[in-house]
């Protein structure tokens, strides 16, 4: 007799090295950039990149990964169950007569239903894992981009302050032309980095939506699989 199927049902864990969430990757410093860096970004790209990232990239992807592992264990349970049923089926194979045939058919049905269930459940685990990893990579990319934007923002702010100090006549007389001249390159860097961030997000999100479609298909499959009940004795 093989191992008990329910031995597969152990506490799930996050399979890969625990993915850092946006906060952890970014660190406190990058997560709460100076108010002025955010204001500057709003001027250049029309949005606060940190607020945007928190809304569209944030999430507990580690727990999705852990769920994937839990679902995978559920699939292992179904495989183990199918194997055990297969073994019982082997044991009753020599039985003859209608009772023997009925038992054989019933066990064969059960075995194939469990097998099918195991496949669909394993698929769901895979899709959950891919979604979590895609979002994790998205978070990494955003962390890098946001840190580069922060650095460019700080450079612009330092330059603006220095230009402002140098203008004996005061800020009012400076106008936006001087400001633009001193920092146009860095402002363009912020603008380009944010465009890249949005592009990456769109790409990853398209992938994730595709995965969710496959996952939904597997869920529907599970719902339609009928596992024959074993008769109680």
């Amino acid at each position: 007799m093989s191992a008990r199927p329910d031995e597969a049902l152990v506490e799930p864990t996050a399979s890969d090295p625990v993915p850092d969430l946006l906060e952890r990757t970014l660190g406190l410093y990058y997560l709460s950039p100076s108010f002025y860096v955010a204001e500057l970004c709003k001027f250049v790209v029309g949005t606060d990149p940190w607020a945007w990232a928190a809304q569209y990239c944030g999430g507990d992807w580690e727990s999705v990964l852990r769920t994937s592992d839990g679902v995978s264990k559920l699939a292992a349970f179904h495989r183990g169950y199918a194997t055990a049923v297969g073994e019982v089926h082997g044991a009753v194979a020599p039985w003859e007569g209608s009772a023997g045939r009925a038992a054989g058919l019933r066990l064969a049905d059960l075995h194939s239903a469990l097998d099918e269930q195991a496949h669909a459940v394993q698929g769901i685990s895979g899709q959950l894992e891919q979604i979590a990893l895609a979002m994790y990579e998205l978070n990494q990319t955003f962390a890098e981009i946001l840190s580069a934007i922060t650095d460019a923002g700080i450079r612009v702010l330092v330059r603006l302050a220095s230009t402002s100090v140098a203008a004996a006549t005061g800020v009012g007389a400076l106008g936006s032309a001087v400001i633009a001249a001193s920092s146009l390159v860095d402002l363009a860097i912020i603008s380009d980095l944010w465009k890249t961030a949005i592009d990456v997000h769109t790409k990853v999100w398209t992938t994730v939506q595709g995965l969710m479609g496959v996952l939904a298909g597997n869920l529907a499959k599970i719902e339609n699989i009928e596992i024959p009940r074993l008769l109680t004795v």
């Binding site: 410093y29 100076s34 001027f43 302050a161 100090v165 400076l174 032309a177 400001i179 633009a180 146009l184």
Partner: protein, 92 residues
């Protein structure tokens, strides 16, 4: 200069950019206004403090309140696209 040149963190390895940022920070500090900020800039110049850390200090924030807030306020009257259009191509 005998001492090896420091490249500030926010310059990301670009020595020329780093020199420019340090010169800007020095000019802000030299203009007076806040001795605490000037002290922090000294530590940045000596390589003891990163500009990212400096940017997180109260002194940096109040310096921005004084010098940059009015600039950003003035920027509200225009858009980034307008600024770019009115400038010659920076690459040329």
């Amino acid at each position: 200069m005998d001492e090896p040149e420091i490249v500030v963190d926010v310059a990301r390895g670009d020595a020329a950019l780093s020199r420019e940022i340090l010169a800007s920070l020095r000019s802000i500090a030299d203009a007076g206004g806040d001795p605490a900020f000037a002290k922090l800039v000294e530590r940045v110049v000596s390589g003891e403090l990163g500009v990212r850390e400096l940017a997180g200090t109260e002194a940096f924030s109040s310096m921005l309140d004084r010098l940059v807030a009015p600039v950003l306020e003035a920027l509200r009257e225009t858009t980034y696209e307008d600024l770019v259009e009115r400038q010659p191509d920076p690459e040329v």
